[in-house]
Amino acid sequence: MKKVVTAAALAAVLAVLATAAWGSTKGSNRSATAATADSALVKCGKTRSIGLLAPFTGPAASIGINQVHWANFYKSTYNRTHKKKIRFVNEDTMLGSANGTAEAVKGAQAVGSNARVLGVVGPAGSNEVKATTGALKGAGLGWVSGSATNTTITLDGTRTGFFFRTVPPDSSQSKSVAAYITGTLKIKRVYIIDDQEAYSTGLADEVQTLLRAKGVTVGRDGVSQQQSDFSSIINKIPRNTQLVYLPWQLPPKGQAFGRQMKSLGRSGTKLMGSDGLFDPLFAGLGNNVYDSFFPLNPADKRVAAFKRIHHATELFGAPSYVAAQVVTGAIDRACKNGTASRAEVRAQIKRTRIAAKASLLGLPVAFDRHGDMIKKPFGIYHSVKGVFVRVA
């Protein structure tokens, strides 16, 4: 028995030493691998591969699928009119699932190790952007998100030159919202309810700070994104509240909240949503509904074509169309001589220039040194007969 125990202990020690030795070798190889991935030339060929990191399933799939539809809409439009084709390497990030950002990291590692992938569209959430930075940056990939709006993820310098986004940051949205609430609506009592996601809490914090600075009385609460029963929290909102601000991502939830407000006799209170709620479902709640959104032109023929194909009204995913446009354009330019490296594609993303006319967003797309769009205005919209009309 003693011999067996000694042998087992020796085996364990050997295993630990071997693992440590393998780990250190792997560590020294990692930087070499990263450098290789960054500069390795890929033959572009007839079909170019782009990673698509999105929540195909999981709690946020309802908005994720909208983004996927918009990205695929760009792909099909592009492939119809170009000899060279693009294809997406899909990775499901399961945003909002119980295991946090683990799936996003796995997906990022998968696209990073796929030598044919030259650039990435996504991921959707700001936390996912933070979590996947190691894997994507390590693989030398440039990535463009159509929905990660947390202000700090471009400003903290961690992913400068690698990460770009086709949505304005929360700071831009919060300024427009606070200015309209205090300046135009002359509101003095606001209740903010976030949905506990990074996007929502970040935006809610910024609006709250700006409103308080202007002397507005602000109440604050939060709900889970999975919640459908809002009656308890509605009961809690003080009766003299003039406006409830909902920086949420899911239009059906905004609609449910508004309807429950009405059924509880609170139809007189104004509602204001963020870009995540810019949707006919939310606008349909009535004339006391406001929203903020980038100046996308709902009358654009591409929007009409998208709605016809996907039978969907949500415009939330439209920046993912632009993200796909940015990455594809960068790959096209980098591939002019038939080969491209990930570093070249990143450099080309940085140099993106899409004119306002060609941009679905209604504004020119070009990036500043942090990876944010240079022009990032937010419009304020008012629901008139169930349709959002721009008022500021």
């Binding site: 994720g64 009656s231 899911l250």
Partner: protein, 309 residues
């Protein structure tokens, strides 16, 4: 004292509690008979909500129902309860019955497997998007104004009434009918019941049918009260229903109902009154579960099981 807040939370709690109670009944009945935690039960509730939704659409939708609104609601309940009842029987037949004599961990894993299977099937068939019951557009749905600031809708009244009604019917069925007697006998001693000529398979199938039908009723109530359903809604609701069954004393029918109302009221009043309540309502709910285990491990109305050693 803010009475409008108090009554508002009371009605919210009772409405939520009614739904949890119906889910808890399914958990408690199956546990009572098979000593099995049927973790797929929450997903049967989700399927019930979807069947109700599709029936409402089939009947012309909430704005233009082809029959009177209340008949539409009755048809939704009937079809969803029958459909989910059949689903429950199918789950028992193919996922649990072959494992009846296996170690207890096997059917538990099987239950988790069925849960994930149902969730992903729903995702595949019906997509990840929210489906809207549009109850607020349903002709005949209105809110009543009581006092200055207190509102209650007839759908909330219907939910609480149907839940109480179904519980009474279930209690009568279990205590006054021959089938109920067979269920009680099977729960007490399965082998002895079999020796007395009771068809155990039939009793277990019937129990699954009843539990799943009640879950379907809960799913429709959820859709009617809160307006929206989605394919992952079963997980949290199932967890709450399970908690309600445990708090009430798993295996006890009145206990499941009591536990359901207690969980619903805790959630509503925590949201209304406690700091960070709306965000941490689940924290308070599960804290209640832990406290209950510490004070009364068998639950409110559960009785200790004496095991022959």
């Amino acid at each position: 004292m803010n009475w409008s807040l108090f009554f508002g939370e009371l009605v919210s709690g009772l409405t939520l509690g009614s739904i949890y109670a119906l889910i808890a009944l399914g958990y408690t009945m199956v546990y009572g008979i098979l000593k099995l935690l049927n973790f797929a039960h929450g997903d049967v509730y989700m399927v019930g909500a979807f069947i109700g939704f599709f029936i409402l659409q089939w009947l012309g939708g909430p704005l233009t129902p082809s029959v009177t609104p209340w008949l539409a609601v009755a048809i939704m309940f009937a079809v969803a309860m029958l459909g989910c009842g059949a689903l429950g029987v199918g789950i028992e037949r193919f996922a649990y019955r072959p494992l009846r004599d296996a170690p207890r961990i096997a059917p538990l894993i099987s239950a988790l497997g069925v849960s994930i299977f149902l969730q992903n099937s729903a995702l595949l068939l019906w997509g990840p998007q929210f489906r809207d019951y549009d109850t607020f557009d349903l002709v005949g749905v209105k809110s009543y104004h009581i006092g200055q600031n207190f509102f209650i809708s007839n759908i909330q009244i219907l939910t609480i009434s149907v839940s109480v009604g179904l519980t009474i019917v279930l209690a009568l069925l279990v205590s006054r009918t021959r089938t109920g007697k067979a269920m009680r006998a099977t729960s007490f001693d399965r082998d002895a019941a079999e020796m007395m000529g009771i068809s155990i398979d039939r009793v277990i199938s019937f129990t699954f049918f009843l539990g799943s039908a009640l879950a379907a009723a809960g799913g429709i109530m959820f859709g009617l009260v809160f307006g929206q359903i989605f394919s992952l809604m079963g997980f949290t609701a199932g967890l709450k229903g399970f908690t309600a069954a445990v708090v009430g004393g798993i295996g006890s029918i009145p206990g499941a109902v009591l536990g359901g109302f207690l969980i619903g009221l805790t959630e509503a009043f925590a949201t209304g009154y406690l700091p960070g309540g709306s965000v941490y309502a689940n924290l308070y709910v599960f804290a209640l579960l832990i406290v209950m285990f510490l004070i009364r491990p068998t639950g409110l109305l559960g009785s200790p099981v004496i095991q022959k050693v």
